[in-house]
Symmetry: C2
Subunit: 375 residues, 2 copies
């Protein structure tokens, strides 16, 4: 154990800082605006099964392994900080047309097949996906549009409140003695024994070889008003005019997400983004016109080339944890465990598919830096 700098104060950086401090490290988090990045704007869906798709085996396995770690992570955070992050227990993906309905069956079959095949994180999850007809959907969520013709219910996919998560992590960090320095890091030449780079989409500014890019996303936060249609009990996901949309319950409302643009670093909320989010959400839950529009925000997700994050050791002194794309909340517990594993010298097998070096062809400099490292 020694001194540890964590660069980036989002959910992952704070999670790493908290657990590393508990493990005995002397931890300092660097971030000019703690908890204000993509973690602040997230929806909080934990839905790796519902998002499964043939050909994306590794993404599914990684997501399922992350989901499996959430209950213990949440319980530990609750015990440490008094913050309970859970806001929904189930996820319901709905179809508005025949093609979408067929897709739901494809997902159920494929994920079920992967689970039945056995092996690792997917063991036993297949039975958690159930295809529903019109009546089945209406019984669960009567406020949804009558145009909904089928659904896919995932009984093991909950949702968390991203802002409560940040709040809980800050409290847990404080209790564990983590120091926070509200400053930007210009380079990684920091005077610490170990450094964790968890700066999300900005990570490539500090390590240009990391293939991480900003993927802009906008969300709306709606607040329930007296007399308006009730907040759904589950996460509701759908595709409207080809655009994915989700409605994640909050205590007093709904988070509606999320647009997706390859727009460089830009967190401007656009008129067109808000227009599309409202239209798509209303197509699923017609009564939300009477909700309050309490917030519209945008964040920069850290996109990776293959939709898997980049987690692992880059040099003898540097561990990275970035590239989580749309799944930063889902994969926080697994990422934290993987980084702690690297710091302890015992990499986590479940995170092997997120090796940050998987995109680079071996070169002389890689070879020498690998030789020169203490790993």
């Amino acid at each position: 154990m020694g001194t540890l700098a964590v660069v980036g104060g989002g959910a992952i950086g704070l999670g790493v800082a908290w657990r590393a401090a508990e493990a005995g490290w002397s931890v300092t988090v660097f971030d000019p605006a703690i908890g204000s990045g993509a973690s602040w704007v997230a929806g909080g869906m934990l839905a790796p099964l519902s998002e499964g798709w043939p050909g994306e085996e590794r993404v599914l396995e990684f997501g399922a392994a992350a989901l499996a770690r959430w209950p213990e992570f949440a319980a530990r955070l609750d015990a440490e900080s008094g913050v309970n992050v859970c806001v929904a227990d189930e996820t319901l993906t709905v179809a508005l047309d025949a093609a979408d309905a067929a897709d739901l069956r494809t997902i159920a079959d494929w994920v079920g097949g992967r689970a039945a095949a056995g092996g690792g994180a997917l063991d036993g999850v297949g039975s958690d996906l159930r295809v529903l007809d019109r009546a089945g959907v209406r019984e669960l969520e009567p406020a949804l549009a009558r145009t909904v013709r089928a659904g896919l219910l995932a009984t093991a996919e909950p949702a968390i409140d991203n802002r409560r998560l940040l709040d809980g992590l800050r409290k847990a960090c404080a209790a564990a003695g983590v120091r926070i320095r509200a400053e930007a890091v210009e380079n990684l030449d920091l005077d610490f024994d170990q450094i964790v780079l968890a700066a999300g989409a900005a990570s490539a500014r500090l390590r240009p070889e990391l293939p991480v890019r900003p993927v802009k996303g906008e969300i709306l936060r709606l607040r329930h008003r007296p007399g308006a249609t009730p907040v759904p009990r589950r996460v509701i996901r759908a595709r409207v005019h080809g655009r994915p949309v989700y409605l994640v319950p909050r205590g007093d409302g709904i988070v509606v997400g999320a647009t997706q643009y390859e727009a460089g670093f830009d967190t401007t909320v656009t008129v067109g983004g808000v227009r599309d989010l409202i239209a798509d959400a209303e197509a699923i839950l017609p009564g939300i016109g009477e909700y309050e529009l309490s917030e519209a925000s945008a964040g920069s997700r850290p996109g990776s080339p293959d939709n898997l994050p980049l987690i692992g050791r880059l040099t003898g002194r540097l561990v990275v944890a970035t590239g989580h794309g749309r799944n930063g909340m889902l994969t926080t517990p697994l990422t934290v465990d993987a980084v702690l594993g690297e710091l302890a010298g015992s990499p986590l097998p479940a995170a092997r598919s997120a090796d940050p070096r998987r995109f680079s062809t071996p070169s002389a400099s890689d070879f020498s830096s690998s030789l020169g490292g203490i790993r």
Copy 2:
């Protein structure tokens, strides 16, 4: 001259305070949140002619008289505060269908006829309204939707920046020695020689006999982004699906207004309101999807039964100025002059149609309070 309490720190309250202080009164403005009410949310259109309609002679005359006082008011405010409030010189009302196009001609003919008939505020304004065909509209504002089929150009109807107006009025008040007390007034039993009640929609809480009600309105503020369609040079007004919409230029963007609900005191921004404003604005100016949505706000306009304000003396000690509805910005200069006239004992003839007692049938108590007053 003596002590004067102004209850309400919107544009009208601050305007009265400024000018009364200059006239020698010792002025105190009471408002728990100066400049945060309907004045803060306004669009700033000064368009009484474009809004003219057969049967609304008194509204037209009052609005035209108010418009005529704006140049001097703005110049005086600029001289006193260094704040220039003008943001556009002209107003263009556009029609998307044949019925709307016919309405534009009706307005032009009727307002032109009233002007030609002569008499007062309308003298000479008729020539300021010009009906345009498709090509004429496109020549003036090429970014407007191709579905626009006609226009009505008002060359003498400018627009002002409501927030700059509030800023300028606060500076002018400070320079004139006006005291500001950031507190709510529970009743009008204040220890001042004269009291001006200018509390907008809240005025009826203090004087329940005033027939003023809150009319909720929502607006959007859009900010131009590089590459987006340019900001129109003029105020653009239209009707879309039966809803009035206006786009008022600002230095770096556009104010889009306004929804209208009879909803009691409620300044919640609703999902449905934002959805409609965006849809209606895009129907007129298709390129605004790329603008930033920088703000959505709501305010309570002070509605009156006949769409004319209530300005005048109620008792020997109390002058009211409220009920300005959607026209608070337009009618500020005339209202200020009318209130100053009442305070000086010489009511303004141009404000006679706004007599606050016009709705009440004479009763014994009115009679006695009139006798008992010092008027």
